[in-house]
């Protein structure tokens, strides 16, 4: 199987759930190199020749297939920008499990910029799961993901974007263009602590009649960490857009939310909601009356919130 040490294996499991060779297509990238790649009958993974990254081709009509493309960095000071392009045919239903884990015990920052571009064919559905985490006592663990999606007619994408812990700095950009009757659900979960910072921007442009977007961002900022969340929904057709940003702020953290709606069509129905606040004392008290300590109650509320 893959030649990974225990820390790398644990990180791999944390960000992708992978503990061995998975079924279906995969590409495992460790410290800037592919250490395992496999194409399936219907999902072809080809390395790029002009820059770092892969191209993933999903054949028309592919159903119930999963592709794993996790990234692990354990070499301190490694900086990389990786370009992965996904070409998903018509009438597909596939799951892409990405994610990146950085272990840094050295003196130099480790940085991974993952730029993912999806071209989703007509009537197709794609689930995209991306988890990020950092561990190790060394210099900074920095992750800057960019995810772009072009959604064809009647296609659908569901994104779960999670930053679990330990990422010192992140600049996240998620952009989607939606054609007629296309739909996207973007769930983002961000947790920052210490002196970490996280900037997240999500832009959805609803270009086709009947298209819709649902953005649900939940985040927790602890200690001295700082978060900024911007969502922008552009309704250029008869469409529906909803953005919801909830943040729990603790200790000396700072959180800002800037939801923006841009209706360019009289039939665009766009809504945003944003709420930032500390954990409600009555929630803590309720759980404490059930026997949890204050700390356990806080942890329960945060874990549930980010679930």
């Amino acid at each position: 199987m893959m030649d990974l040490d225990k820390i790398e294996r644990d990180l791999m499991k944390e960000v992708s759930g992978v503990t061995g060779i998975p079924e279906g297509a995969y590409n495992f990238r460790v410290n800037g190199k592919s250490i395992g790649r496999h194409s399936s009958e219907k999902i072809d993974i080809i390395p790029k020749t002009d820059k770092s990254g892969i191209e993933i081709y999903v054949a028309d009509g592919t159903k119930n297939e999963i592709a794993h493309i996790p990234v692990i960095i354990s070499a301190s000071g490694l900086e990389e920008a990786v370009y992965n392009d996904f070409y998903i045919g018509d009438n597909c239903e596939v799951t892409i499990i990405a994610g990146c884990g950085i272990y840094n015990c050295g003196a130099s920052d480790s940085i991974h910029d993952g730029i993912h571009t999806f071209h989703v064919g007509k009537n197709s559905k794609v689930y995209y799961i991306e988890k990020h985490c950092g561990i190790g006592p060394g210099a900074k663990k920095i992750l800057n993901p960019t995810t772009r999606l072009n959604l064809s007619e009647n296609s659908c994408a569901e994104l779960l974007l999670e930053q679990i812990k330990g990422v010192d700095s992140t600049r996240r950009l998620t952009e989607a263009d939606l054609a007629k009757n296309a739909r996207i659900v973007i769930k983002e979960r961000l947790f920052t602590h210490g002196k970490q910072s996280a900037d997240s921007k999500i832009v959805a442009e609803l270009k086709g009649d009947g298209s819709s977007v649902d953005i649900v961002s939940r985040s927790v900022a602890q200690d001295y960490s700082r978060q900024k969340f911007c969502s922008q929904i552009i309704g250029a057709a008869k469409c529906r857009g909803h953005s919801e940003c909830d943040a729990i702020i603790m200790h000396k953290a700072q959180v800002s939310a800037e939801p923006s709606l841009d209706a360019q069509n009289v039939d665009a129905e766009l809504i945003h909601e944003a709420a930032i606040g500390k954990i409600a004392s009555e929630q803590l008290i309720k759980l404490m009356t059930l026997g949890l300590s204050r700390r356990q109650a806080e942890s329960q509320i945060i874990n549930g919130f980010l679930k």
């Binding site: 059930l290 026997g291 509320i301």
Partner: protein, 220 residues
């Protein structure tokens, strides 16, 4: 089980004294602002009393937190159910019950487990549903003293009979526990072995349902 001796809190409670014994089902009633909920919160440790004594099974619990009091065997059902984002009905009941199977507690309050266990405890649920989940979370505790603050609030008339059955059943199955219900409902008062009328932070009347109910009627 619990001795409340001369308990005062701000200007809300003024020297309240009474005892709760194993097997008791006590209803505390009284006008709005008479201190009923405050007294309950003082007993379970949400509020800290200014003076007086609270002895639970002989132990002074005045300095104990609500976590410690919960672990000693005190359980409290809030008048206003608490909303959570992300915490499901299953999560809440499992915390309350200590990870045992929790379906039965929902069934007891008339909710179908498969319809509710995985739902978040938030405004997507009706007030009555939230109230029943709140009651279920308290029933799920293996407590010695249960306090329910206006359990009938928000409960429809069809579920009300079921609620009374829940209290009767608890009393039968847990004879060594005690139940205190803050309520204005005569049907609930009728199942109590003692009724306490709280007025202006003081006990104005106390005794069996037979003795107190006629006097309450005269007062109205």
């Amino acid at each position: 089980m619990l001795q409340i001796k001369g308990v005062s809190y701000k200007s809300i409670l003024k020297g309240v004294s009474f005892s709760i014994n194993a097997g008791d089902l006590i209803v505390i009633t009284g006008p709005n602002g008479s201190g009923k909920s405050t007294l309950a919160k003082c007993i379970v440790g949400i509020e800290k009393i200014d003076s007086g004594e609270l002895l639970f099974k002989g132990e002074d619990i005045r300095e104990k937190s609500c976590t410690e009091r919960a672990r000693l065997g005190l359980a409290y059902s809030f008048q206003q159910p608490i909303h959570f984002k992300g915490v499901t009905v299953r999560d809440l009941l499992m915390i309350a019950a200590g990870n045992e199977k929790v379906d039965k507690y929902l069934k007891k309050v008339g909710l179908e487990p498969e319809l509710y266990l995985d739902r978040e405890i938030n405004s997507s649920l009706s007030g009555g549903e939230l109230k029943r989940i709140e009651i279920a979370s308290v029933i799920a505790r293996k407590a010695e003293l249960y306090i329910f603050d206006e359990p009938e609030a928000g409960i429809d008339i069809w579920s009300f009979g079921n609620l009374i059955k829940v209290f009767k059943d608890m009393r039968k199955r847990q004879p060594n526990s005690a139940i205190v219900i803050i309520s204005h409902q005569e049907r609930i008062m009728k199942i109590a072995n003692r009724i306490i009328l709280l007025k202006d932070g003081k006990i104005a009347l106390s005794g069996s349902a037979d003795k107190v109910l006629p006097q309450l009627e005269k007062m109205q």
